[in-house]
């Protein structure tokens, strides 16, 4: 019925001596017909079909025909140079448990020799139905759910969910809550980019960078642990403010992190940025044009690497980003090196923002004093029966959110993190949709990889910075 099943049954005439084998040790597959090997693995039919079974439209994507062409210039798919006999190419599988795919990402690649022609990312291995789960949890509990999506920047997930809920509730936060959120969000960006530098270093063979990146990230996570109680999945930013105030002496802790990170960024420069081997592996690899990035809905460092200065913190400021100074880092070539340099320098910009947050952090309450949303303080519960009932009500039933729907977006380290929230007036979201930047950004991977070498594939996957928890949700 579907194309997938058709491919499993269609016979491909050509014999493919070097074709890969899905199961069992290699070696004995050499004299078997190509059909059995390519069309069917022990997992079922393949996700990327042989050329003969692929429509011209689908094939045209291989040569970057993602460009939105003006009227009258529409390329006839049959004119494109994608004609290759099936027996000259080979389809191989990478992942889902490959150490370099950053989780359970599976890629089907069609290779011509060592050149990558087509790539198809296959996802869903980590799908746990978090959007469905979100409909079963109250708005009060919702942050615990969304924080597990992008596990490298959980605070941003909580932030976007809280902002959406607050917009529906129509409540305004006290300034300190806003600035605490900004502090945590920027620290999260630093830790997420450090993690990326570490894994990217690992992917291109720099074990030192991996150790360095994890070492500095640990500083940030230690501060998170002190502030929120846990290293990840904090559930700290909640609708109505934050769970608690910052711990005593937080200024000194942040100061130490900033000084350390600033100093060590120069080490990274020395280790990687100017290093010929590293540059050779990153420059000109996996490049993407601005048009392609826009057409593919790519956001974040990928879009900025192509030269488009689009950063939601600047363009559509949320929290108090309009009150701090920072630069939007953009690239020129849209290649892996630009994406590396953008992330490295975004750490510097985050440090700059954080220093201003340190200076300007207002005093006051860390959450809104709205009886509807905020549980009464612990001390009141001992004194007042009403407070006890109120507390009980909020934690068992949750608070009701007015009917409506809203789309809110923030700039996560990976791009536009959006939350589409629909409420039917009850205490649970009617629909919770997270626009995950990794999920959308993965679509640009095939375009980046086309024409490159299979040896560069790992570096290119890394430069997209996919977090599979967020891709599959």
């Amino acid at each position: 019925m579907s194309a997938r099943q058709r491919a499993a049954t269609t016979s491909t005439p050509a014999e493919r001596p070097g074709a890969p084998r899905g199961a069992g040790p290699g070696g004995e597959g050499h004299d078997t017909g190509g059909e059995a090997l390519v069309a069917e693995t022990f997992e079922g039919s393949q996700e990327l079909h042989p050329r003969a079974d692929t429509s011209p439209d689908e094939l045209a994507r291989e040569v970057g025909s993602v460009l939105r062409l003006p009227e009258g210039h529409v390329v006839d798919a049959s004119d494109l140079d994608v004609e290759r006999p099936d027996d000259e190419t080979m389809i191989i599988n990478m992942g889902p448990q490959h150490p370099s795919t950053h989780g359970v990402l599976r890629l089907m690649m069609e290779l011509d020799g060592e050149t990558v022609l087509r790539t198809k990312p296959i996802i869903g291995y980590l799908h746990t139905g978090m959007e469905k789960t979100g409909e079963e949890l109250t708005f009060q509990q919702g942050a615990t759910n969304v924080t597990r999506m992008d596990y490298l920047s959980p605070l941003n997930n909580e932030l976007v969910f809280s902002l959406a809920t607050e917009q529906l509730l129509g409540i305004e936060l006290p300034p300190r809550a806003v600035w605490i959120r900004m502090l945590l969000s920027e620290l999260q960006r630093v830790s997420s980019h450090l993690m990326w530098l570490a894994t990217n270093g690992m992917d291109v063979g720099s074990t030192t960078m991996m150790i360095f990146g994890f070492r500095e990230r640990e500083l940030v996570l230690a501060f998170f642990e002190k502030t929120t109680g846990v290293r990840m999945n904090h559930n700290f930013i909640r609708p109505g403010g934050t769970a608690a105030d910052l711990p005593d002496g937080w200024e000194d802790d942040v100061e130490v992190i900033l000084d350390n990170v600033t100093g060590r960024l120069f080490d990274y420069d020395e280790l990687l940025t100017g290093q010929p081997i590293f540059r050779e592996r990153m420059e000109g690899v996996g490049s993407l044009s601005a048009d392609e990035a826009l057409a593919l809905s790519a956001t974040g460092p990928i879009l900025r690497s192509t030269g488009i200065a689009w950063d939601l913190r600047r363009a559509q400021p949320y929290l108090a980003y309009d009150q701090v100074d920072f630069d939007v880092i953009i690239g020129t070539y849209g290649d892996n090196f630009d994406r590396y340099a953008i992330r490295l320098n975004e750490i510097r910009e985050s440090v700059r923002i954080l220093r201003q947050v340190l200076e300007k952090m207002p005093r006051g309450d860390y959450r809104v004093q709205d009886k509807k949303v905020t549980p009464p303080p612990r001390a009141r519960i001992d004194e007042s029966m009403e407070a006890l009932i109120h507390h009980f009500k909020i934690f068992t039933e949750g608070y009701k959110v007015p009917e409506g729907e809203v789309y809110v977006a923030v700039e996560s380290p990976r791009g536009e993190l959006g939350c589409y929230l629909v409420s039917d007036g009850s205490s649970k979201p009617y629909r919770l949709h997270i626009r995950a930047p990794s999920f959308v950004n993965l679509q640009s991977l095939p375009v980046m990889m086309h024409g490159g070498l299979v040896a560069d594939a790992v570096a290119t996957i890394s430069s997209v910075d996919p977090v599979m928890g967020e891709v599959d949700r």
């Binding site: 020799g113 789960t133 490049s287 057409a295 320098n345």
Partner: protein, 201 residues
């Protein structure tokens, strides 16, 4: 071998940075994102399309299923170069939603967010899709980024996009039955079965 010539940087200058932008977003001259008219979001819509502004002051359009593709094309040509989000909602058990008078509610609703980089502006579309015939034109031909998003909506809601190159399940296993985000799909209703998993002992 069809390999794309790697774009080399001029000179071997190890200086790191890409340029930084001092202020304002206004993206540089990006082909495809130069809009001729700086009109407000709603002005681009062909006549006859219902529109509204939400209490959160977000511009929303309510094209019909038939108008949907044309409206998207008009917006793309009008400078909304980036399809930010595309998802759906199953309104099976929620009857009191706010819609303009001219829009008849249907069970499914497609929710789309378009973004104009040059004007730093968003517009949202809400399209009613009936339960009996959940079919809609794909916008893959306009926005290539719609590919994964439409597949997700198909997977989760069973809404079919005509003209999509590869409308298959994306998150659920390919032989999964039902569409999990539909409201009549109970949580925990089916025991999770994986392909070729050994049966219960």
């Amino acid at each position: 071998m069809g390999a794309r010539a790697p774009r080399r940087r001029p000179g071997g200058d190890p200086a790191l940075t890409p340029e930084t932008v001092q202020d304002q977003p206004a993206a540089g001259p990006v082909a495809g994102d130069t809009s001729p008219s700086p009109a407000a979001g709603g002005a681009l819509a062909p006549p006859g399309v219902a529109s509204a502004v939400s209490p959160q002051s977000q511009a929303i359009l309510f094209p019909t299923r038939e108008q949907y593709h044309d409206v998207m094309a008009a917006y793309r040509d009008g400078g909304f170069a980036l399809l930010a989000d595309l998802t759906a909602v199953d309104y099976l058990t929620h009857h009191g939603r706010t819609l303009p008078d001219t829009v008849a509610p249907e069970r499914f609703e497609l929710a789309v967010v378009l973004l104009s980089i040059s004007r730093s502006e968003r517009v949202r579309l809400r399209v009613q899709v009936p339960e009996t015939d959940p079919v809609l034109a794909s916008v893959w031909d306009l926005y290539r980024g719609a590919e994964a998003m439409e597949r997700e909506v198909f997977d989760m809601f069973g809404v079919v996009f005509e003209g999509h190159p590869d409308l298959t399940r994306i998150l659920m296993p390919e032989d999964w039955e039902g569409h999990p985000l539909r409201k009549d799909y109970g949580v925990g209703r089916v025991p999770v079965q994986f392909k070729e998993a050994p049966g219960p002992r």
